[in-house]
């Protein structure tokens, strides 16, 4: 196919389908991160958590061949990471950014070591079982719409189903109200009989679980392999999605699809040979992330007022 046809319908369908597919892992991680940040914890450690979740999923899939069990293993890896992170953020009251970054460095070393211990140092990379794309009668066969919406693996639909669920828990339950109060004014929450520490542990653990599953998603639905570089900044992209999504699940879903589109654009353009240097295209999602995180667009009033502020009761 020549460079001249790169805006054709084949390109469009490929690009949009990839946009939706690639938005899945970052959406999952971002949904969890919303809970952490709403409780007052900036969980920078999700980058490392995604990596450890990916490793856990890979090893479980390698051992059992069962993709659902492997996805659960990813979540379990995320919970373990979350416990350590929450202990540093909430109990120790360490600087959240420093603790998160240190954890990310630790996670890279740990993942590499565990991988080599489990598979032997010289083993060639081995693929594992992956989620198959679901087929919907009639729908999957539709032109453009079929590949874009009705040809994905189960975890993607799970991620999008969690959007209304997250919204409901945050805004319609007593737990969600208490969690948000802990992130907005921990003193007032404490005074109202809410344990700020418990809320922040809950937020961080939800974030860890989601990030672990996000790592499993990458292995089980996208790559089928494990490498230490597999996560490549998806955690930071999730942080940016939370900011662009104004700490709300629905808008975060929109932002996640936008990031997926940016990521997919560079893949599709390379595939269809648009003639642009691939390095430039590769950097697109990261440039967006830096812009979002830098606060270049001003600090949002939607940001939880006590974000990143450790709280010591009385």
């Amino acid at each position: 196919m020549g460079a001249g046809h790169w805006l054709g319908s084949a390109f469009l369908a490929t690009w949009l389908a990839a946009s939706v597919r690639l938005s899945g892992p970052v959406l999952l991680a971002a949904l969890g991160e919303i809970f952490a940040e709403r409780s007052g914890v900036l969980n920078v450690g999700i980058e490392g958590t995604i990596l450890l979740g990916a490793l856990a999923s890979y090893l479980a899939a390698y051992a059992s061949g069962d993709v659902w069990l492997a996805l659960l293993a990813g979540a379990a890896g995320g919970v373990l990471s979350g416990v350590l992170l929450a202990w540093m953020y909430v109990t120790i009251r360490a600087s959240q950014v420093v603790a998160g970054i240190v954890f990310n460095v630790l996670a890279v070393g740990l993942a590499g070591t565990l991988y080599r211990l489990a598979l032997g140092a010289s083993a060639a990379p081995q693929t594992v079982a992956m989620f198959e794309p679901l087929r919907f009668p009639l729908l999957s066969g539709l032109p453009v719409l079929g590949p874009v919406l009705f040809s994905h693996a189960a975890p993607l639909y799970l991620a999008f189903a969690l959007v209304p669920a997250a919204h409901f828990v945050l805004f319609r339950t007593g737990f969600g109200l208490a969690l948000r109060a802990a992130g907005e004014n921990p003193k007032a929450a404490d005074n109202a009989g809410i344990s700020v520490a418990r809320m922040r542990y809950a937020g961080t653990l939800i974030s860890g679980t989601a990030a672990g599953m996000s790592g499993g998603y990458v292995v089980l639905a996208e790559v089928g392999l494990f490498r230490e570089t597999i996560v490549s900044g998806q955690g930071f992209i999730a942080l940016a999605i939370v900011i662009l999504g104004r700490w709300r699940p629905w808008t975060a879903a929109l932002a996640a699809v936008a990031f997926g589109a940016a990521d997919a654009l560079q893949l599709s353009l390379q595939l269809f040979g648009a003639g642009l240097p691939p390095q430039l295209l590769l950097s697109l999602p990261y440039v967006l992330t830096i812009l979002a995180i830098s606060g270049l667009f001003g600090r949002s009033a939607a940001q939880p007022a006590a974000l990143m502020q450790p709280y010591a009761p009385r």
Partner: protein, 538 residues
């Protein structure tokens, strides 16, 4: 339309025959309460009784033990000895949650509200923590509306708390407690953040609650407010109860004597001083706060030698930014400043100090001093180079010590020794140290911000005396204070700030608390004169 509570106050000063059952036990009794903190006996056998439907004032200076007593009652602290009885039955109160379950609630000086949430969300906060139980905000809102109507609180359940004025936020705190069906409300310094009119509204609400059979405890040091609203007053001094009396049987002077332990002058002794030339001129000053919000919108003023210009206003109306902008301590976006005839608009804080300005900030512990450094070092700060040797390179510690000694003597700063860290000084002594340090430089202009906030009566007398002495010595004093009493006692002219602007300026002789209160609320005073006219008449 005025809120329902605003025109409801004249009727009932006499509440002595209300629903109190004289045979039954009072709602609350605290007996022989003892509380020790390391090195301090905060409560030493304190007894307090509050009847049903009674408004009870708890009066005392800072450190007298009234906060400790209330924190014990609210479950923040545990008593070392003594009994608490609720309606005659002994009670254990180990947490605020237990206190609320027993019908005791507290409105803290610093409100415990989540600004981004609505009134109803704030009210139900913490009552229902389960993820399985859904929020029924509609029902809660209806209940709040009913409470608001019944008690004349004028609170909209669906309003976002952060958008409400301070007085309304205080009523949100009250409605939160009523929603939990609290029988005794503790209010800690409730009028500190209110205009006089808002204060009247609050008192009307409290009277209604009392008529409803609920009890109220107000923690305060404002004598006139106690006389106005309370049925009884318990005065604390040095961790003990000095007296517990009916307000109808005492006077402000009597209460002051009980509180301090000796006679105190409630009025400053102000001599007439001839006003000198204008030494500070400010034109159209605008400034932002640290968060980037504009807090000062084009403010102009003149300050003369030998006068005290009082800046009155409810806290948070730009007074802090005015002081900081004058010292170039916050982002100034426009406007010009002259000292004498010299344009200092572009000068740094150091440049302005050199040009004759001095500043005593409101936060004497964190801004006005370095808590970890000794009194000597703190006294020397800013003028150390004057006493240095070798062309300013080497500090002359002997000279610094002598300077600190002279300062402590002249301003009667009481301390164990001069090497004592400034942070260990009492509020009054620290303030005298900071004020003295600035006055020893003999500046032309002295900016003082909340100079007596949190000080005991003796220290207030001393600080007022120093400010009047500075004025008599020809200094130009800009007195920024949220305490109307202080402004009315000291100032020659009074400018009222509201919303980052000067709402009007009055000669002190024409000012009264009521009139200033209207201007503080932002209402243009009917006959407030522009600055020029005041000057012409003065």
């Amino acid at each position: 339309m005025p809120p329902p509570w605003s025109n409801e106050r004249a009727s009932d000063k006499d509440r002595s025959n209300l629903a109190v059952n004289p045979q039954g036990p009072p709602f609350l009794e605290m007996r022989g309460i003892v509380k020790r903190f390391p090195g301090v006996l905060a409560n030493n056998g304190v007894t307090l009784a509050v009847g049903h439907g009674e408004i009870h004032a708890l009066l005392g200076e800072n450190g007298a033990g009234k906060s400790t007593l209330m924190q014990i009652l609210y479950g923040f602290h545990q008593r070392d000895a003594g009994d608490i009885l609720i309606e005659g039955r002994p009670a254990r109160i180990e947490s605020p949650k237990q206190a609320i379950a027993l019908g005791i609630g507290m409105v803290h000086q610093e409100f415990m509200l989540v600004h981004s949430m609505t009134v109803v969300e704030n009210a139900v906060l913490g009552l229902n923590l389960s993820i399985r139980r859904l929020l029924d905000l509609k029902r809660a809102a209806a209940a709040l509306q009913a409470l608001s109507d019944r008690h004349g609180l004028a609170v909209d359940p669906h309003a976002v708390v952060g958008h409400l004025p301070v007085g309304a936020q205080q009523r949100v705190e009250i409605i939160k407690l009523l929603y939990r069906d609290v029988r005794l409300l503790i209010l800690d310094e409730p009028t500190a953040v209110l205009t006089p009119q808002e204060k009247d509204g609050l008192f009307a609400v409290l009277r209604r609650l009392a008529r409803d059979g609920r009890s109220v405890v107000i923690v305060t040091h404002k004598l006139h407010e106690i006389m106005e609203v309370a049925d009884r007053v318990t005065v604390m001094r040095d961790g003990r109860v000095a007296a517990s009396v009916r307000t109808s049987e005492t006077s402000p002077r009597g209460l002051a004597r009980l509180m301090v332990g000796r006679d105190v002058a409630l009025r400053a002794d102000k001599q007439a001083v001839a006003r000198g030339p204008a030494v500070l001129r400010v034109e159209n000053l605008a400034a932002r706060d640290a968060a980037g919000e504009t807090r000062l919108h084009g403010l102009s003023l003149d300050l003369h030698a030998g006068e005290i210009l009082g800046i009155a206003g409810v806290d948070g109306n730009g007074q802090a930014q005015l002081a900081q902008a004058l010292m170039q301590l916050c982002p100034v976006t426009s406007g010009r400043v002259w000292i004498g005839g010299q344009d200092v608009t572009r000068l740094s804080p150091a440049g302005r100090r050199a040009a004759g300005m001095a500043y005593v900030p409101a936060d004497r512990r964190h801004v006005g001093s370095v808590a970890e450094l000794s009194m000597i070092d703190n006294a020397a700060l800013g003028t150390q180079a004057r006493r240095a040797r070798a062309g300013g390179l080497i500090r002359d510690e002997g000279a610094d010590r002598g300077f600190a000694k002279a300062l402590a003597a002249r301003f009667s700063v009481r301390a164990a020794h001069l090497g004592q860290p400034a942070g260990t000084l009492s509020g009054g002594n620290l303030q005298k140290l900071v004020l003295g340090r600035e006055m020893m430089r003999e500046p032309a202009i002295l900016i003082v911000e909340q100079p007596t906030r949190g000080l005991d009566a003796g220290a207030v007398e001393a600080v007022w005396g120093e400010l009047l002495a500075a004025r008599a010595g020809g200094m130009a004093v800009l007195l920024i204070s949220a305490d109307l009493e202080e402004i009315l006692n000291l100032a020659d002219r009074i400018a009222v700030m509201s919303g980052g602007r000067i709402a009007g300026t009055l000669p002190a002789a024409h000012a009264s608390a009521e009139r200033l209160g209207l201007m503080m609320a932002g209402a243009p005073a009917p006959d407030a004169q522009p600055l020029a006219a005041v000057e012409a008449s003065a």
